[in-house]
């Protein structure tokens, strides 16, 4: 046993910090290069798909906040996504000016988040999942039964957002719009993870009893998590409608909520990179199946992947990558 401290030890934290800084810088440069290369090197359709990955990443980050960080299983997430999408879709017919719409989406999402959060504050497990699922079903029901306004189950087209030469359904413009919102959501989530609120969420997820004994405001933390999650999903849905140009209830039903859950768990709950990997999976893999002529295989794979990841790699792909790095001796010392 070593009783005398190793003189070499104290400088290691500085080495680690420097290593982390270099790693972060390298990642930032690589990501920026990839972001610039996509619209230059790829075709219009691929750029459109990349925009969708970014939009879904924002919504997935939202579910990651409420489920991955605060531990509240929500099966109404696709409904918040739909709330934003239908706000964009209905704004044209209802004559709501463009500059009011982002504020309106945020306000509606906050209201939706509170409406879902308040009755579920005392619940966990099955009860929480069921009540959030009921909210989702109610949203679907409302869309289906407002045929004149929303087109019901047939869906409705959405006119593009136009500001001068900018057209949200133009490929590069859609890519830019999605990039802005994805960057904002990622930075916000990163900041949240470092904040007191983020740590409170983790504490509530790990043990409500212990958190309460340490003075963590459980109710406030849970409601905030639901609101943030709803705002992320609502904003993503709003951009989605303007980029894709069509909305229908099937994009926002229970199965859509399960896909968001697949994205969070596949990537790794509570991790930003995980949310991005998960959203890439739920957007890109269906496209691959479409390309090879088997579009119906994606839901089968989705179910199988959710089971396999939850059973064999509960920390998701990010944890899997860390394990592989550790096995290969590539982990940071």
């Amino acid at each position: 046993m070593r009783l005398v401290p190793d003189l070499a030890v104290p400088h290691r934290p500085f080495q680690r910090a420097a290593g982390r800084r270099h790693g972060a810088l390298f990642s930032a440069v690589a990501l920026t290069a990839a972001w610039l290369a996509i619209p230059v090197l790829l075709g219009q359709y691929e750029v459109f798909i990349a925009a969708q990955v970014m939009i879904y990443a924002v919504a997935t980050l939202g579910l990651d906040i409420v489920y991955g960080r605060a531990g509240q299983l929500s099966l109404a997430h696709a409904s918040f996504f739909g709330l934003g999408a239908y706000t964009a879709a209905l704004s044209g017919p209802l004559g709501i000016p463009l500059w009011v719409q982002p504020e309106l989406v945020v306000l509606l999402a906050i209201a939706g988040g509170i409406i879902v959060a308040v009755p579920t504050l005392r619940l966990s497990g099955l009860r929480l999942a069921l009540v959030t699922l009921l909210f989702g079903e109610l949203f679907d029901w409302a869309i289906d039964h407002s045929l004149a306004l929303t087109g019901g189950s047939q869906g409705m087209t959405v006119a593009p957002m136009t500001i001068g030469p900018f057209n949200s359904q133009g490929t590069v413009d859609a890519y830019l719009l999605a990039s802005i919102i994805a960057l904002g959501a990622t930075l916000l989530t990163r900041q949240l993870a470092r904040s007191q609120l983020g740590r409170r969420m983790l504490a509530v997820r790990d043990s409500e009893l212990a958190s309460a004994s340490l003075g963590v405001p459980i109710v406030h933390t849970k409601i905030t998590a639901f609101i943030l999650s709803a705002v992320f999903a609502g904003a993503a849905g709003w951009v989605y409608a303007y980029v894709v140009g069509f909305v229908s209830p099937t994009t926002f039903n229970l199965f859509a909520s399960v896909y968001f859950l697949v994205a969070v768990i596949l990537g790794g709950a509570g991790r930003i990179t995980g949310a991005w990997l998960g959203s890439a999976y739920i957007v890109l893999v269906p496209e691959v199946f479409n390309l090879v002529g088997y579009p119906n295989l994606f839901p089968v794979l989705g179910g199988g992947v959710l089971i396999a990841i939850a059973l064999f790699l509960p920390g998701g792909l990010v944890e899997g990558a860390a394990l592989i790095r550790a096995q290969l001796g590539l982990h940071r010392r």
Binding site: L123, V131, L134, F135, V300, G302, G303, I307
Partner: protein, 295 residues
């Protein structure tokens, strides 16, 4: 009250109680699984659905005799239920809510596999007495309704008798209360648990078959039904016996009356309003999930 209104009321009540009978059949499976293994299976309804769809395919498409097709469907439902326990539930990591997540994955998997194998169009299943109807006092009495109601009552009473009056029930309750002590007392806890999951598959198949006879069905048809059963379980409490079983009948009756009074579209919001009211009104201690260690 005019005779026509009385007949309508009796009709709505009978229809609601018949649906409640099938909810009770499903509920017994949910309660048994929850009490013995402390898990919730979101794919419970799909377990019965795949059996029904296989039966349909075998007799309607492949031309196999109906009885053989039904037995094959039942065997598939039992296999899926027992494999869910053996391959999935027993391997779930000890993280809160992962049984819900994993069985949501199974729900997605079974639904999409059924769509892939049997198509996405709605199908008409075996009649199972739905075409035997008589009129008594202005009320259309369907033999299938009576069968569902009687089956629900029989299963409810039978479940109670098995759980409280038999050695099997004692073993089940001992395993539910403390698996380690039950094991040390010589009870084959894991075997019993798989048997319970298999029985839940049987109950899911019976209810799915009878629902399929009453509806035009696609791969999603059991999902809203099972959601209603889970809501009844949430209201009654899955660690009890009589409250959730009675809630199963009550919620079906309530929904039936809501649809009768306010139209077909009122079914979903009526259940939603009921749940929100209950959550607002019931005491906090009633909602504490002291027995839901993992669920």
């Amino acid at each position: 009250m005019p005779a026509a209104a009385l007949a309508d009321a009796a009709q709505v009540t009978l229809s609601g109680l018949a649906t409640g009978g099938l909810y009770a059949v499903l509920m017994l499976g949910v309660i048994l699984v929850f009490q013995v293994s402390k898990n919730i299976n979101f794919a419970y309804g799909q377990t019965g659905m795949v059996g029904v769809f296989l039966s349909y395919f075998l007799y309607a498409v492949a031309g196999i005799p109906v009885v053989a097709a039904l037995l094959a469907g039942l065997a598939l439902a039992l296999l899926v239920a027992s494999l869910t326990d053996r391959l999935i539930i027993r391997n779930i990591p000890a993280r809160e809510g992962f049984d819900l997540v994993v069985t949501l994955g199974e729900l997605l998997l079974l639904t999409s596999l059924a769509q892939l194998a049997f198509g996405t169009n709605a199908q008409s299943y075996l009649k199972l007495l739905t075409n035997w109807t008589t009129v008594r006092g202005g009320v259309f009495i369907n033999a299938n309704d009576i069968l569902c109601l009687l089956l629900g009552i029989a299963v409810t009473l039978g479940g109670h008798i098995v759980l409280t009056r038999t050695s099997l029930g004692t073993s089940l309750r001992a395993s539910a209360a403390d698996a380690a002590i039950a094991k040390s007392a010589g009870i084959n806890v894991l075997g019993l648990r798989t048997a319970v999951w298999t029985v839940s598959g049987l109950l899911a198949w019976v209810a799915a078959s009878l629902f399929a006879a009453r509806l035009s069905v696609n791969a999603f048809y059991m999902t809203p039904i099972v959601i209603n059963v889970f809501i009844a379980g949430m209201i009654g409490g899955l660690d009890r016996y009589w409250p959730p079983m009675i809630a199963a009948f009550t919620i079906a009756l309530y929904q039936s009356w809501a649809i009768y009074l306010f139209g077909e579209a009122a079914g979903t919001p009526a259940v939603f309003i009921l749940v929100i009211l209950l959550l607002s009104l019931v005491p906090k201690r009633y909602l504490e999930e002291r027995h839901e260690a993992r669920a």
